[in-house]
């Protein structure tokens, strides 16, 4: 039957040869190569849960009277967006589970992109021929951050609505065109004519997911075409890939991983409350509360806005609010420009234009690793700075102290990190066999009293891949009995 199906398809599409190659495709096994899969499967969960949510959510700022089962809101006039989201949370079966899973999936999606991007950076996987894939990846990171912001702003609650106000002011701060852009996007002076909610909705459920989905296809396509990188090791060269074949092993592992990722996100979605908008209340532009932070992946921008001094330039009949424009427009522009351009920038320093299919161990490139660690620390300090008020409250110190501490450490800590990381890399390289189990030296004495030492045998498992890699076999001719038994399966005659 399989034979007939393959022939049917092959007669129409010519897939047999290419298909065979696909099935034999080799994927290296290192654990850090799976980080991108966390992002991929979180995206799948986002789409699945997102479709469900979009069947109930009403993208409208039009005011209605809430009639659902959350008592304190009964009889209140709220926007339909807010009312439908509270309705999803209280009056739709499994609604809250799906809504929270969706929100956790967004946080994990962006978190896993961050660790995946760090892995790519620290192992030098962005070098030729993979610069294009790096650019695609950074673009997806940017679009993911934007889409996350749009998504958590859809319920029109007090916390996210404040974020929208801030976004409007950031747009307004752009010289020459800022006020025009703000009025165009929002349909008027803030809060606009209400059109911003449906516009956010369209961007969030259609335009950006389609672009991100397309970029994922490009990202994976490039990966298939160029084949995955691998760490240097026994039998691994620049001209081969050693690992497990796509079918059946890799498909089994990755399918299982997809289920497990979905499971973790669902468990978070039902056990850990996230964005309880019924406790925040609906958005009114003249109301505000405490602990108004954006979601974690926007934290670096919020932190930058908080620690920036109040430098506003006024002259010749115009105002340029640098305290907004610099941290919220110029700085992210520089950040993403820098990320996009990194493969090119590194080439300027290393003068390395060769093709690389083997990865670097991070310790073997101490300058790049130290620089990357310092940059990570810099963005982490900014991220931490977005919780100044929560920290002042929690640690019982004055806001003044917290703010000035962050203004200083946001520069000092990355510098310290650079030197410490550089040192650690060099020391790790200097220590031979670091991280591996040591072999015992067996000291023996001969009959005549002479000492001799011999290194003990390696323990089983010390050299995990003792076998040499072989090509994927084309045929495994098994008789029916051998099919049932065969390696790994034992049948006992009763």
């Amino acid at each position: 039957m399989i034979d007939q199906s393959v022939r049917w398809l092959d007669d129409r599409l010519g897939i047999a040869k290419g298909g065979r190659t696909m099935l034999d495709k080799i994927f290296p096994d290192h654990w850090s190569f799976m980080l991108g899969e966390i992002a991929l499967y979180s995206f799948v969960v986002l789409i699945a849960t997102g479709v469900f949510l979009s069947l109930y959510y009403i993208p409208s700022a039009h005011e209605v009277v809430y009639h659902g089962s959350y008592l304190p809101l009964r009889g209140q006039r709220v926007s339909e967006a807010y009312s439908s989201t509270v309705g999803l949370s209280f009056d739709v079966k499994s609604g809250l589970l799906i809504r929270q899973t969706h929100h956790w999936a967004a946080d994990v999606f962006l978190g896993s992109i961050a660790v995946h991007m760090a892995r790519i950076f620290f192992t030098g996987a962005f070098r030729k021929p993979r610069e294009l894939n790096w650019i695609v990846g950074v673009t997806m990171l940017m679009l993911g951050i934007v889409n996350g912001f749009l998504g958590y702003s859809l319920p029109d609650d007090l916390v996210s609505g404040t974020g929208i106000r801030i976004a409007y002011s950031i747009i307004e701060s752009v010289p020459l065109v800022g006020s025009y852009l703000g009025f165009f996007l929002f349909g008027g002076n803030y809060p606009g004519n209400g059109i911003i909610i449906p516009r956010f909705f369209l961007l969030h459920v259609l335009i950006l997911p389609v672009i991100i989905g397309g970029l994922i296809a490009v990202h994976l396509g490039l990966l298939v075409k160029q084949k995955h990188t691998q760490f240097p090791g026994k039998g691994k060269t620049e001209d081969n890939v050693v690992g497990t074949p796509m079918f059946p092993t890799f498909i089994a592992k990755t399918t299982g991983f997809m289920f497990m990722t979905s499971a973790v996100l669902l468990l978070l979605g039902g056990l850990a409350q996230i964005n309880p908008i019924w406790q925040f209340g609906q958005y009114e532009p003249y109301q505000i509360s405490y602990a108004v932070q954006p979601d974690w992946y926007m934290g670096w921008l919020d932190g930058a806005l908080r620690i920036m001094p109040s430098w506003e330039w006024v002259g010749w009949g115009h105002t340029l609010p640098l305290e907004v424009f610099l941290p919220a427009v110029v700085f992210p522009g520089l950040t993403f420009g820098f990320f996009w351009g990194w493969p090119h920038i590194e080439k300027r320093f290393t003068k390395d234009v060769a093709t690389h299919n083997l990865l670097d161990r991070p310790r073997d490139r101490p300058k790049r690793t130290a620089f990357g660690a310092a940059m990570l620390m810099f963005y982490f300090m900014l991220f931490a700075a977005s919780s100044t008020d929560v920290m002042a409250n929690f640690f019982n110190v004055s806001l003044n102290v917290v703010l000035w501490t962050f203004r200083v450490i946001v520069f000092v800590i990355p510098i310290i990190t650079y030197f410490v990381t550089y040192q650690i890399c060099n020391e790790m390289r200097a220590a031979e066999g670091i991280g591996k189990r040591k072999r015992a030296m067996v000291v023996s004495r001969s009959d005549t009293g002479a000492y001799s030492t011999v290194t003990a045998e390696p323990r089983p498992g010390d050299d995990a891949h003792e076998l040499d890699a072989i090509p994927v076999p084309t045929y495994i001719n098994l008789t029916p009995e051998e099919l049932e038994t065969g390696p790994g399966v034992r049948r006992v005659m009763r």
Binding site: L97, E172, V174, G270, V292, H318, P473, P487
Partner: protein, 313 residues
């Protein structure tokens, strides 16, 4: 290619040896590994069935999550364990064939573009140029409906609010504010009558002292204006000059307004001048007076309220 449906190859092809260690499972005790995977899968199935039951029986989000989560976790773990421990362990290798074409082919491609294209461009310059101009023209005008039609021009909207001379101060419910409504240390969000709830008009009214009509007015340091206060009341725009958040936190003892978004602190007794944090300008002060026992505005704001923008002088 013209074979009938037959599986047998026509030429000898590599066949794996049955006892090839590469075909063996990764697990040292495959039976045990299989048992673990079987248990995991059964837990998975039970979990999924459990979710099915929970969905009909209860509305508890937590039970739904635990059943479905454990279900998927079990199934996932089982399949993964199957792939990792029970399938052929390998390792297998695949050769990388350099995908860049030969020097010849690259030269041919470049030639195809430059030479064939070059002929066209050289012979039909006019057509090529016109098409380029046309595309550019289309590109430019296509931006007009895409961008300009989205919304109105700002005009004077950012420069004026609805506060006018004799605008009555009302609460968000539309109730006029009487001169005795606030105690010392009290604070209230107010709007001009008819525009309750309107974002640009949001104003914060504070009672600093209880002063009589004969008493000297509240003393405010510059840029605050004492003649814009009334009976110990002072009013400022509630929209933060940093990013527009409502400056809703009033610290009574230090007489400061704090913006909760990025912690700008404004000195109420000195015209709401920012003393800490990223806000660049003081909160504009609304001039108020008492008329027939109720608070009204003497005039609108004397400057644009809220965050800075290019056209702000």
């Amino acid at each position: 290619m013209s074979d009938e449906s037959t599986v047998q190859p026509t030429a000898p092809l590599p066949v794996a040896a049955l006892d090839d260690p590469h075909q063996l499972p990764y697990a040292k005790h495959p039976g045990r590994a299989q048992a673990v995977a079987v248990v995991a899968m059964i837990i998975g199935i039970l979990g999924c069935i459990g979710f099915g039951i929970t969905y009909w029986v209860s509305d508890q989000t937590q039970w739904q999550a635990v059943t479905l989560g454990v279900g998927l976790l079990g199934l996932g773990f089982g399949v993964t364990a199957w792939g990792k421990y029970l399938m052929a362990r390998g390792p297998f290798v695949e050769e990388r064939h350099p995908f860049n074409s030969s020097d010849e082919e690259v030269k041919e491609m470049t030639a195809a573009i430059t030479q064939r294209g070059g002929i066209v461009v050289a012979r039909r310059k006019l057509l090529g140029g016109l098409f380029a101009i046309g595309s550019l023209a289309f590109g430019v005008v296509a931006a007009f409906p895409l961008i300009r039609s989205l919304g109105p021009k700002p005009g004077r909207a950012l420069f004026v609010t609805n506060w006018r001379r004799n605008s009555q101060l009302v609460t968000v419910d539309g109730r006029p504010v009487h001169k005795n409504d606030l105690e010392v240390g009290g604070v209230l969000t107010v709007f001009p009558r008819g525009f309750a709830g309107s974002s640009p008009d949001q104003t914060i009214l504070l009672r600093i002292e209880e002063l009589g009509p004969e008493d000297p007015p509240l003393s405010l340091a510059s840029p605050g204006r004492s003649d814009w206060t009334a009976l110990g009341y002072v009013a400022y725009s509630k929209m933060c000059t940093h990013l527009g958040c409502p400056v809703g936190l009033y610290q009574e003892q230090t007489v400061e307004l704090v913006c909760p978004c990025h912690q700008s602190i404004f000195n109420v007794l000195a015209g709401a001048v920012p003393e800490f944090g990223p806000a660049p300008r003081p909160l504009p002060q609304l001039p108020i007076k008492v008329q027939n026992g109720f608070l009204v505005a003497q005039d609108g704001y004397n400057q644009p309220i809220g965050p800075g923008f290019w056209e702000r002088p």
